[in-house]
Symmetry: C2
Subunit: 239 residues, 2 copies
């Protein structure tokens, strides 16, 4: 049976302006791969409501799971929760369960649970909260969309909360063989190998180091024995 | 006048499987921002022809420029050129101008210009070549789509070839002020500032360091004097 499919939506001007190098996509990709969920598409959009709403609808229709990152803090540019509510036609307001979590947190730390902070308790009707052990303000799941923070430490903690609740498929396994020849020399035999092992994905990632060309050949699949067989054959081709 | 808009399409299983952390998006975002072109959307898709063709068509329709990265090497998983041809209904084959560049390069280096390497000379009809000073094999432009390599050093060199040919708008300027208070404390006044300076984009990027909360407030726009005014007002709010 094929693995479940997933998409990610990264929300934030800071990525598209080049201010911040995204870290969450790389992290999520690795975690989903280990969990047997195929990350099939990623989109990055700016803090623009129509763009967020349209992307959420399209990805939610096209994939089994959608993970978003960014835009759920207390400031005016944090519009993700409202956009998710709009995408699914849900009412959104400060919700008692999320407000209670935050109220307790700010009571403890002696800070005021003011209007800005209440913004972080805006959760659409019918959404399920996602635990945030780092900084309390929760994410949420609505239908097949998991809405998480953009700050990498919080995003990672939320992914750790969510992943055990998802049924994964077979983890994607991989082996890599480095071949110290130019891609142009190995491409012919490699294409033959890819045809013979068409149940596996065989990628070639070239590099150039100290003037010498080489390539890392990565063989991916869910059947470890097949990957072993392909790697053995591959190393025979270029030994 | 509004700046030209752009999208990027990153092509490659290695990004979606978490093997490789993308570097090209971050690089391109910074370069376009300096050049006054607004990167509005990024998509990442796997080495899957229907996904690539569909994304190219949608992005080419929606934005003024589209930049792709990945999938133009000599191996079987390099299918980008053929997908671009398909997206625009163009014929594609080994083209004399690209083949001549590569032939000269391999003659020089004493390597065989074999069938695999000829794959890198597959260029759609009506496309214009993009110079590759790093490793010769060219990228190309077809209509408003710029097709470039995934290897970061080559991608960067190709971007450097392309950017001077594009008419940019006003470069996006930015100033950052670090405020050593939690976002929840500053969000209210910040929203007022964002309303007053609605011609600018004001983003808040929180951090936590040694247990203390703070946020970097980034003010972006094309009018330096307006940004100065907003920063002055901002620093007055929290001094």
């Amino acid at each position: 049976m094929a693995n479940p499919t997933a998409a990610m939506l990264v929300i934030g001007d800071e990525i598209l302006s080049g201010r911040t190098r995204d870290a969450n996509m790389y992290f999520l990709a690795g975690e989903l791969t280990k969990h047997g969920i195929d990350l099939t598409e990623v989109r990055v959009v700016s803090d623009n409501a129509p763009a967020i709403v349209a992307a959420v609808k399209q990805l939610s229709d096209a994939y089994e799971h959608v993970f978003t990152s960014g835009g759920i803090g207390p400031t005016h540019d944090d519009i993700t929760a409202d956009c998710i509510a709009e995408a699914f036609g849900k009412h959104i307001d400060v919700r008692a369960d999320a407000a209670a979590l935050l109220q307790a947190h700010y009571d403890n730390s002696g800070q005021e649970f003011n209007d800005a902070r209440k913004r972080m308790a805006r959760i659409p009707d019918d959404a399920t909260l996602i635990d945030n052990p780092v900084s309390v303000a929760p994410g949420f799941r609505l239908e097949n969309v998991y809405v998480m923070a953009g700050v990498p430490s919080v995003f990672q903690a939320m992914v750790a909360s969510v992943l055990p609740t998802l049924i994964g498929g077979a983890p994607l396994l991989s082996q890599t063989l480095r071949i110290e020849r130019g891609e142009g020399d190995i491409a012919g035999p490699l294409a033959g190998l890819a045809e013979e092992f068409s149940d596996l994905s065989i990628g070639s990632y070239p590099y150039q180091r100290n003037g010498a060309y080489g390539s890392n050949i990565v063989i991916r699949g869910t059947d470890g024995a097949r990957i072993d067989a392909a790697i053995t054959k591959l190393s025979g081709l270029f030994s």
